[in-house]
Structures are given as C-alpha cells and as structure tokens.
C-alpha cells in the first residue's frame, strides 16, 4: 500500500508540536511564510516517514493528512 503524507501549509499555524513528537525527526518548520502569516511545518526528510500518524494526532489544526489514494490528493493539490 502506498501512502502520502500531506501538510496543508495554509492550515498550519507553525506551532511545532508535530516537529516535537515525530519519532523519526522528519519534520521541520519552514522559513517560508504561509497565507495566514505563519511559518508552516514541512517534511524535511520525507524518505524517513513511516506514516505512523503521530504528527496527525498531535496537530491541533488538522493540517496533516495521510492518504492511501494518490489520485485524490493529486486533485486536491491543484
């Protein structure tokens, strides 16, 4: 099964809780500002992601999703 880890950068408030709890240290806070004026989290090392969803669990803003349907997300990203 193939999974996708997506951070909706405009939903993200850059609180960094996901960065703190990621067991693989995949995430970091970006230097680029989002439309709301926050510096969002991003996957600095996506290859290390094990899709454990710990970051999703901790995110207060439901900004992170994990999908197994690649096509759905391709559409959403447009």
């Amino acid at each position: 099964m193939e999974y996708r880890h997506i951070i909706d950068s405009d939903r993200c408030k850059g609180c960094g809780l996901c960065v703190d709890v990621c067991p693989q240290k995949v995430l970091e806070i970006s230097c680029e500002i989002n439309t709301k004026g926050y510096f969002p989290a991003y996957q600095a090392r996506p290859e290390d992601c094990i899709f454990c969803a710990t970051c999703c669990l901790m995110c207060p803003d439901v900004a992170i999703t994990i999908s197994e349907n690649v096509h759905d997300f391709a559409e959403q990203e447009i």
Binding site: M1, G14, G16, M58, P60, D61, E68
Partner: protein, 245 residues
Amino acid sequence: MSKTFKKPECLSDLHTHYCPGCTHGIIHRLVAEVIDELGIKGRTVGIAPVGCAVLAYNYFTFDFQEAAHGRAPAMATGIKRVRPDLIVFTYQGDGDLASIGMGEIIHAANRGEKFTTIFVNNAVYGMTGGQMAPTTMPDQRTTTSPFGRNVKEVGMPIKIAELLSALETPGYITRQSVVKPKYIVRAKKAIKKAFQYQIEGRCFSLVEVVSTCPTNWGLTPVQAIKWAEETMLPYYKLGEFKVPE
C-alpha cells in the same frame, strides 16, 4: 490498522481562531471523530461555553447552542429533559465550569443528567486575557496573580474530576490529557466511552482534559506541553475516577 488520517466529517473546514499550539483543536477533533464513529451527528446538539471555545460552534457541522458563562450544564439539562433522544454535550473551560458555573455542573452531575461534558482544564482564563482560574497551579503567574497563585489567600487549585466523583449519584468521571500522543489516544477512548454511556442512557459523563495555553502561559507550544506534563499532571492525576456499575 489503516494508516490513513483525515479530518473528521463532524469538523467544519473553517480554520480555528485558536493560537498556534492551542490544544483546543486536538480536543475538537477527538470529539468530532467520536461523533463520526458513533454515527450520531444527526441527533447531536453541542453547547459552546463562554471562554476561548466560545466560537466552538463554528468548527462543528451539527446543531449547536451557545450558552452564557457557566450555564451550559443547565442548558444541556433543559434539552435532555425535553428531548432525551438527543445526544448532548457541553464543551467548557476551567473558568466557565469550575468558577462561575460550579453550581450548574455539580447539580447536573448529581441529578445524573444524561449528557456529556468535555471539560478543558488549562489552568488559566484564556478568553479574558490570562487571569487566574480556580485550576491555576500554586505559584503560577497570571494577570491577576502577578506574584504567583498564593494558595494561602485563594486556596488550592480545584480538582474537578475528584470533586464530582465524590457524588453518590452514578456517573462516568475521568481525567485525561492531550499533551502527548499517547495521552491523546487514551483521551479519545475516554470521550467515546463518555458518549456511549450517554447513548445507553446510563449516566452523566465528564471528561476533564488537561491541556495548554501557550499564549497566556508565556511559553512556546512545545514548552507548554512540557510544562503541563511536569507541573500539572503530578497534581491533576490522569485516570478514571468514577465508572458506573
């Protein structure tokens, strides 16, 4: 187990007004997930408090009422007494529930009203700007306890879960937290259990959730979850305090 993760249906698309790292968002999501999973969206009525979660009604996609400060348990009582078929929950903070609404919550719990209360304890008044709450920790600085909570003058923080579990009326009373992923998993289970007790018409249920307020605590979100863990959790012990027989 599926590894996918997405926003629950009961949560609206709106971005919340909460500060970065505020754990209200996590608790909202858990409640929404539970209502999704139980399939009760069409008969659920939520009650928003006065406090930071005053706009909670914007973030859910089912019927909602907005209460005055502390009065949510009375409104929930009103609904459940005239429409016992509805699933009703109040979402209240520590100023709302443990201070101005103490009378309402104790009597609702003692009557065994069959609704669910999600009680968010972050040891401070959020909405009004960081004043001392009944649950503020000893020596914790707030805008109305600038030298730290002086327990000799204002007493010790109130432990709501313990207080309510002292009532003889059967109920489900538990304290959970969302400051660590493993706590979040447990908190969701507790919230689900609380709603299930309600659906079965068994008892009043309350889930106290130890959470954070980085902005008013003057900490970063990550420092805040650590402060909650180190300072609050030893005092506010997690666990089930009362389970109906």
